[in-house]
């Protein structure tokens, strides 16, 4: 299900318009936020990929997230927007239980992926994270070669039975991340030697290599220049056909460019969520409107 229509068209050119969707990109599931689901072109079909109910996150005594309820559809891009410190990254990190690595963090409520709660004791975060990949704010390639960076995931999860298969995974991941042409001749040079934008695409390739179902992106372009940003946004648009992508971003323009659905967080609460176009043209909550029109941020 690759993008056929506009793989080369820069999202920047499209301005505020929604990215052109491929005809068969109809697997959108409804966003159940309010009792009355909003009518939208992408009609609600089937179960959401990720279903969060009453999610609260605490850091020690401090509550960072209040009762978040959201549904995230498969095979589409959902953007989390909101001012800094509003809890959007916190929520993102609780989807693949990265908050486990912070000793004082505590998550309540349920986050279900395909109907299975990720916060259950019986859930192995190792397995969970192999299904839910993550890309961080700052490109963080391991201080290893480009090849080893991408091969890391398949190696630890035992996804390849031999060298040939591993090389095939690496190659296809790098191709999907649009990096293959740039690095094919220097796979065995350190990944840290790439430019910032290339590093971020390398990290995306690394995440793709374990064939996750969900990819979480925590402000993936905030450390990049505009051209590299455009390249990543294009890539996100291409990947949408295969993965459920959740992206945290500061830039409303970016949210408008890459996402089909948008959720607005403010002071630890999910204010509203819905189809991107609608959110930007006709927000229901005044806080969303204020934020989008730049009254605060």
């Amino acid at each position: 299900m690759t993008q056929i229509l506009n793989p080369l068209a820069s999202p920047l050119v499209k301005g505020h318009a929604m990215p052109v969707q491929s005809p068969d990109d109809t697997a959108h599931t409804p966003m159940i936020h309010t009792t009355v689901p909003h009518a939208h072109a992408a009609a609600p079909v089937g179960e959401p990929k990720i279903k969060a109910r009453d999610v609260k996150v605490f850091y020690g005594d401090k509550q960072a997230l209040f009762d978040v309820n959201i549904d995230i559809p498969a095979k589409s891009v959902t953007a989390f927007i909101g001012p800094s410190g509003c809890g959007k990254s916190t929520f993102l990190r609780s989807i693949n239980r990265m908050n486990d690595t912070i000793p004082s963090a505590r998550v309540e409520g349920s986050i279900e992926i395909d109907g299975a709660d990720v916060n259950l004791k019986s859930v192995d975060p190792v397995v969970l994270r192999s299904r839910v990949g993550m890309v961080f704010q700052k490109p963080n390639p391991f201080p290893k070669t480009i090849f080893e960076n991408v091969a890391y995931g398949p190696r630890i999860h035992g996804l390849a039975t031999g060298k040939v298969e591993l090389e095939a995974i690496v190659e296809s991941s790098l191709k999907k991340a649009g990096l293959w042409n740039e690095v094919a001749d220097r796979l065995h040079q350190p990944g840290t030697g790439l430019s910032g934008g290339q590093q971020q695409r390398l990290v995306i390739a690394r995440a793709i290599a374990v064939s996750p179902e969900v990819i979480l992106m925590d402000e993936p372009c905030s450390a990049l220049d505009p051209i590299a940003t455009a390249r990543i946004e294009e890539l996100i648009d291409e990947l949408r056909s295969q993965f459920c992508i959740v992206i945290v971003t500061h830039s409303m323009a970016q949210a408008a460019r890459v996402s089909q659905r948008t959720a607005f967080f403010h002071l630890g609460k999910l204010v509203e969520s819905g189809p991107t176009e609608e959110m930007f043209t006709n927000p229901r909550d005044s806080r969303t409107q204020d934020y989008i029109t730049g009254r605060f941020g």
Binding site: A116, L120, D124, V126, L128
Partner: protein, 432 residues
């Protein structure tokens, strides 16, 4: 993609049992690795417990000692008034003890010799001093008390056992019987061993104490502190605040970092060649020891001061310069006082380290036997760690007990200094 859990098996996979097996293996290796880490910590802590426990168990008995009080008749027949120092006081003490025990000396003097082996020679010196002070005591009976000889002391502490074959122990059965008899009669009492803290080194274990070594250590540390702290702080201030960044200061910096890692014994060789042979500083003196340790502590003081100065934010400097203070005023009125807690913490820690240092002091003649408190900064002295080394080398068993006790004293001093540093850090350190 409808598996209800993530824990049991990764979904999608066709060979899900293989994946499951692999996952199990991964988690097992995780547990093993974590257990290895924990084991390493436990091993390190066990070493600490064994080390400290062993030393305490070997040394604590020193703090108890057994003293004998016995009435001594100062027999005028045995005391030559014209030659008081030539009198055999030990025999007079032995006589008094034999009387107390109700035994008679034989012609060869074996009984009196055996009795003398039970008490310290200190008794004899006490008699001499008392008579010297007041000759009218001659002919009277006075009560003298003093410590038992180390072997007798060890018997009461259970270190020498009756079950050991008679030939293998220092005291024979008869002597042990006497000791029991004296204790039953109340002549031998046990108490806190004050003498260990008020005496200096001695060839007789029961007389040996740590006072001389403690005073020697203190004097040496004073010298070290007076040199290393000001010079180190000023040097660090220059390097951190004033020095231009060029090749020379780079060399100085590399040089200081390396000096901090030079083996301490090399400083001893430097002290021997430079201070003793070239500058003729007296050997074995607190002065030369303090100088050597000062050179050794200097790099650590500099490094600690520099990091304390680095922690003071530039805004403080800018604020002071902004109101028209000169660079020197800025540093000495604002930056250095703010860095002082860190500086003092570092200084105390390096002084504590210097207190425990032994090897370089062996090079500058501090291993000599020094009975008594050092006479001054240029007199012969010994220090605590060297005292430990000297006693450890002694063959008498009683010295091993004292070695451990001296270590306890040394450790107490070091813990006090470290605690002072920690408290200072906690109380005054500010986070910017």
């Amino acid at each position: 993609m409808t598996d209800a859990t993530f824990g049991a098996a990764p979904p999608r996979s066709a060979a899900s049992t293989a994946m499951e097996a692999r996952l199990k293996k991964r988690h097992r290796s995780e547990r093993i690795f974590k257990a290895q880490g924990l084991a390493a910590i436990i091993v390190a802590l066990v070493f600490l417990v064994v080390l400290v426990g062993r030393i305490v168990s070997q040394g604590y008995t020193t703090f108890e000692s057994h003293t004998l009080s016995v009435p001594v008749y100062l027999n005028p027949d045995r005391i030559d008034r014209s030659d008081l120092t030539g009198v055999n006081y030990d025999y007079i003490v032995a006589e008094a003890m034999m009387k107390k025990l109700g035994v008679q000396d034989d012609d060869l003097g074996t009984v009196s010799t055996k009795v003398q082996d039970l008490v310290s020679r200190d008794f004899g010196f006490q008699l001499l001093n008392k008579i010297k002070a007041d000759p009218s005591l001659i002919g009277k009976t006075i009560t003298v008390s003093g410590s038992l000889k180390a072997d007798a002391d060890l018997y009461f502490k259970g270190e020498i056992k009756r079950s050991t074959a008679e030939g293998d122990r220092k005291l024979d059965n008869q002597q042990l019987d006497w000791l029991e008899q004296l204790r039953k009669s109340g002549a031998i009492k046990s108490g806190f061993n004050f003498a260990f803290f008020t005496n200096s080194d001695s060839t007789e274990p029961e007389q040996a104490g740590v006072l001389g070594a403690v005073v020697g250590s203190a004097m040496m540390l004073i010298i070290t502190a007076l040199i290393a702290v000001p010079v180190g702080v000023l040097a660090a201030t220059y390097l951190e605040e004033f020095a231009p960044k060029n090749r020379w200061t780079d060399i100085i910096e590399v040089n200081i970092n390396n000096l901090a890692a030079v083996p301490s014994i090399v400083y001893g060789l430097l002290g021997l060649a430079l201070f003793i042979n070239w500058l003729n500083v007296p050997r074995s003196s607190p002065l030369v020891g303090g100088l050597v340790l000062a050179l050794m502590a200097l790099p650590t003081v500099i490094i600690a001061t520099r990091s304390a100065l680095k922690a003071v934010p530039p805004s403080i400097r800018e604020a002071a310069l902004g109101v028209g203070a000169s660079k020197t005023q800025t540093v000495f009125h604002h930056v250095l006082p703010l860095a002082m807690p860190g500086v003092m913490t570092g200084a105390i820690l390096s002084l504590a380290h210097a207190l425990g240092e032994t090897a370089p002091l062996l090079m500058i003649g501090m291993v000599s036997f020094v009975p008594g408190v050092p006479e001054g900064f240029t007199g012969a002295a010994t220090v605590l760690p060297v005292q430990v080394f000297i006693w450890e080398n002694a063959s008498e068993r009683a010295f091993h007990e004292r070695t451990a006790a001296a270590i306890i004293v040394l450790l107490v001093f070091m813990i006090v200094m470290n605690a002072a540093a920690v408290i200072m850090r906690r109380r005054f350190e500010r986070r910017w």
